[in-house]
């Protein structure tokens, strides 16, 4: 197998194939950076055009876009507190405060270096470990996946923010939104009010754009002539070779985030946002100064960005070996493969090694190129956005949001829906309800419900089936540790302290 890997290399280094990856990365960064446009959309637009292209050129474009977009989403997340993609929500936590403190340039550099590292780690996992890792995927049936969702919800409970009640209300709102549409087992309509457009549920991008992008834009427009404090206008960009040594202290976060991203990637359905949230949370927990997190801690940006890129190539492991697209992007990419007669499955590696391994190399090169293209080029040009007059910037973003949301399914219904969510988001923002629990509730709520119901069906209603095997038991133990661990630790730690005092 590894000789096939080397065999595929020369082709990938050909001019057109390499150019395809480069163009893909640039396009991906741009698409990711524009709120409302996502990698899924860019690749679906691309799919029809790939008919006439050589397979590796087509796949190179896709690999580039996927990698580029995962970083691109960080740019507006840092500069405007608007996550460009769902996976960049966790990047806003520390990225935006950094920008306000005049460290926006550094935040973007951390983001691009971390993204690149995550992407490289993920590409290596795909190249070297795809067949064994696909066996791990097989261990996770509906019951196990349900526990993953529960674990995700519990471990990220910190997202509830300062006010737990408000946080829980936000999370419940997210879960409620996840319920809209036809139910995952029988297909009964829930809260669709007869609208066919609602039957498939609410696309995460619609919710995200409404909730996250509209309120900041309204803020921009509310006080167009407000004198900004000088710091946030100044990006404070230093040459990357000078900032790079400062980032070296993130190495633990990078390793941890890469592993989390790869792990989440091979479990179909969770996606980059969960990877970023979990990596952020774990890094914060391991930090010696957890209090600085959320207030402009560069390591937070690193944690989030390394994980959402580490999810990219690894999400293709179940997609290529088992034909299960873990994410919406992977699903579209499978279509791109199908057009070229490449059918996913264990045989794919045997029958079409040159294309498959070439595709993997392209992922690696895409991740490396990200460092160069995203580093100076994109960061500097996008950073200039902040210099635009506020009303102009706000209007541009609104137009992009409308176009982006419209183009998901090509219908106005989604645009109205987005504006509705925008109104909700604006109110939540003013009333200080945290937004991340909504996103998480939507993603994990649906994930948990579907798998719980499948698991119960498999067990024919017998709940003990949920805990029947070791994978489930380990996951439950981990969940309990996450929920009660901090409390117990504090208690024993507290006891010992008071003991010492006594």
């Amino acid at each position: 197998m590894y000789s096939d890997l080397l065999h595929a290399l020369p082709q990938v280094l050909g001019l057109t194939n390499f150019l395809a990856v480069t163009i893909g990365v640039i396009a991906g960064i741009v698409v990711g950076a524009l709120p409302g446009l996502s990698a899924t959309m860019a690749i679906s637009v691309l799919v029809p055009f790939t008919f006439g292209l050589d397979p590796l050129v087509a796949l190179g474009l896709m690999a580039g876009i996927y990698n580029g977009a995962m970083y691109g989403g960080a740019i507006p997340a840092v500069l405007l507190r608007i996550p460009g993609t769902p996976a960049a929500v966790a990047t806003t936590f520390d990225g935006y405060p950094m920008a306000q403190q005049g460290q926006g340039g550094y935040a973007l550099q951390v983001a691009v270096v971390s993204s690149s590292i995550g992407g490289i780690a993920s590409a290596f996992a795909l190249m070297l470990l795809a067949p064994p890792l696909s066996k791990v995927t097989l261990l996770f049936g509906p019951a196990e996946v349900f526990w993953i969702a529960v674990f995700g919800l519990c471990s990220i409970i910190f997202l509830l923010g300062g006010n737990v009640v408000k946080g829980l209300i936000s999370a419940c709102f997210g879960v409620f939104v996840s319920v809209i549409g036809s139910d995952p087992i029988f297909g009964n309509d829930r809260y669709t009010f007869g609208y066919l457009e609602l039957l498939d549920g609410i696309n995460i991008v619609i919710l995200l754009v409404g909730l996250y992008a509209l309120p900041p834009v309204i803020d921009l427009l509310e006080a167009p002539l407000k004198t900004e404090n000088a710091a946030s206008d100044n990006l404070g960009t230093e040459p990357i070779w000078r900032t790079l040594p400062r980032m070296m202290r993130f190495w633990k976060t990078w390793i941890r985030g890469s592993l989390i991203g790869i792990w989440i990637g091979i479990l179909p359905g969770a996606g980059g946002s969960m990877a970023a949230f979990m990596s952020y949370n774990e890094a914060r927990r391991a930090s010696k100064t957890p209090d600085t997190w959320g207030k402009g801690e560069a390591e937070g940006v690193a944690a989030s960005e390394v994980a959402n890129n580490a999810d990219t190539a690894s999400a293709l492991i179940p997609a290529l070996t088992l034909g299960i697209p873990g994410t919406a992007v992977a699903a579209v990419m499978l279509g791109g493969l199908l057009i070229h007669g490449l059918q996913p499955g264990p045989m794919l590696f045997r029958d079409n090694p040159d294309v498959v391994f070439g595709f993997m190399w392209q992922f690696l090169f895409g991740a490396i190129l990200l460092l160069f293209l995203g580093g100076s080029l994109a960061t500097n040009s996008f950073a200039k956005l902040l210099k635009l007059p506020r009303p102009l910037l706000g209007s541009i973003i609104i137009v992009l949001m409308l176009i982006g949301v419209y183009s998901i399914h090509g219908r106005m219904f989604d645009v109205y829906l987005m504006l509705g969510f925008g109104a909700v988001g604006y109110l939540m923002d003013k009333l200080k309800f945290p937004l991340p629990p909504v996103v998480l509730g939507l993603i994990l709520g649906a994930f948990a419900e579907e798998n719980l119901r499948l698991a119960l069906r498999i067990g024919r209603g017998d709940r003990s089936g949920l805990l029947a095997n070791h994978t489930s038991q380990v996951l439950v133990a981990m969940t309990l540790a996450v929920v009660f661990g901090p409390g117990l630790k504090r208690r024993f730690w507290g006891n010992r302290n008071s003991g010492a005092q006594g």
């Binding site: 690749i43 679906s44 637009v45 799919v47 029809p48 008919f51 995927t137 097989l138 261990l139 996770f140 049936g141 509906p142 019951a143 036809s182 995952p184 087992i185 029988f186 297909g187 009964n188 309509d189 007869g194 066919l196 457009e197 039957l199 498939d200 179909p268 179940p318 088992l322 034909g323 299960i324 697209p325 699903a331 579209v332 990419m333 499978l334 279509g335 791109g336 199908l338 057009i339 070229h340 007669g341 059918q343 996913p344 499955g345 264990p346 045989m347 794919l348 399914h409 090509g410 579907e450 499948l454 069906r457 498999i458 024919r460």
Partner: protein, 313 residues
């Protein structure tokens, strides 16, 4: 005599423009699913060759995903029958939707042009399941009704119907576990989370090392898997498959219909097209015009019967 010739000539003259001019603007093929799915890829492949067959016309594939394809099917049914709006048609799913939900179309809302793909359903288990024959699986499901879990893609489609028909014919009972798509069902089966599954034959291709196909639910053995017996051979008279073709709204102008039918026949006859479809893993079964319409009628009847005897919601 003379007048009748004139009349004929006039009639031809009057008729030819419509025929000669079609197509004078781009033809849209509406796909009720997202870009990149199996149906979308078929539509794009057909579209590409249809452009040639219509002498350089422009064929545009438009995705209108949503509600399990219903948004797209509804759009096609309601479109003007002028030959500029065509659509992909998936059976039995498109027709099942007309029973389990309020729909603005039924089997009579379309002009059936050509079916290209017919993918027979299978009864399949994982190699490690211990089942070697269809009989062994059926025996277990009879001995302990409901104990055999059967993974499939969502309810109300060919997989679901195949499982119900199999159970009925074998006088046994399975616990149906509807996943989001056949690939997830297949993975759960390989991972041992469900005992068996039913899915289209093409979904099992490439997984020969992991899966054992016990039976194909078609009239004859499939050229894709000549060693696998049909359920009929084993004494269970069950046939179910997933069909994918191209339709137009009902009332399509006959001249346009003829032109489209001959163009689609030319597409099907093109060896390049056949090669491309085979590479994408599509078992072909070209059925055109009235024969296609007759199948739609039968399929609609099958879906109705199943819905009436075993409603799934």
């Amino acid at each position: 005599m003379k007048t009748s010739i004139w009349a004929l000539a006039l009639a031809t003259l009057a008729a030819t423009p419509a025929l000669a001019e079609y197509p004078e603007k781009p033809i849209e093929i509406i796909v009720g699913y997202s870009a990149g799915g199996g149906t979308d890829v078929m539509a794009r492949t057909v579209g590409k060759f249809l452009e040639e067959a219509l002498g350089g016309a422009s064929v545009v594939v438009k995705n209108e995903p949503g509600a399990g394809g219903q948004i797209g099917f509804t759009h096609v049914a309601a479109a003007k029958p002028d030959g500029y709006t065509l659509g992909t048609f998936n059976m039995p799913a498109a027709l099942a939707l007309t029973y389990d939900r309020a729909a603005d179309y039924d089997a009579k809302s379309f002009t059936y042009l050509a079916n290209f793909v017919e993918d027979p359903n299978t009864i399949v288990v994982s190699k490690s399941s211990g089942y070697d024959t269809l009989e062994a699986l059926i025996e277990d499901s009879r001995a302990n009704p409901g104990a055999v879990t059967m993974g499939l893609s969502s309810l109300g489609g060919n997989d679901h119907f195949a499982a119900l028909m199999m159970a009925k014919s074998a006088n046994s009972e399975f616990t149906l576990v509807p996943f989001k798509g056949a690939a997830l069902a297949r993975t759960a089966m390989i991972g041992g989370h469900v005992a068996a599954g039913t899915m289209a034959l093409s979904q099992t291709v490439g997984f020969e090392d992991q899966l054992k196909v016990l039976a194909v639910l078609s009239d004859e053995r499939s050229p894709f898997a000549p060693d696998v017996p049909t359920a009929k051979e084993r004494g269970f008279d069950v046939e179910m498959s997933s069909l994918r073709g191209v339709v137009a709204p009902v009332g399509l102008e006959p001249a346009v219909a003829d032109k489209l039918l001959s163009a689609l026949a030319a597409v099907n006859a093109n060896p390049e097209f056949q090669k491309m479809m085979a590479e994408q893993g599509n078992p072909m079964n070209y059925i055109a015009g009235a024969d296609f319409a007759a199948i739609a009628e039968t399929q609609s009847e099958v879906a109705r019967t199943i819905w009436e005897t075993t409603p799934w919601k």
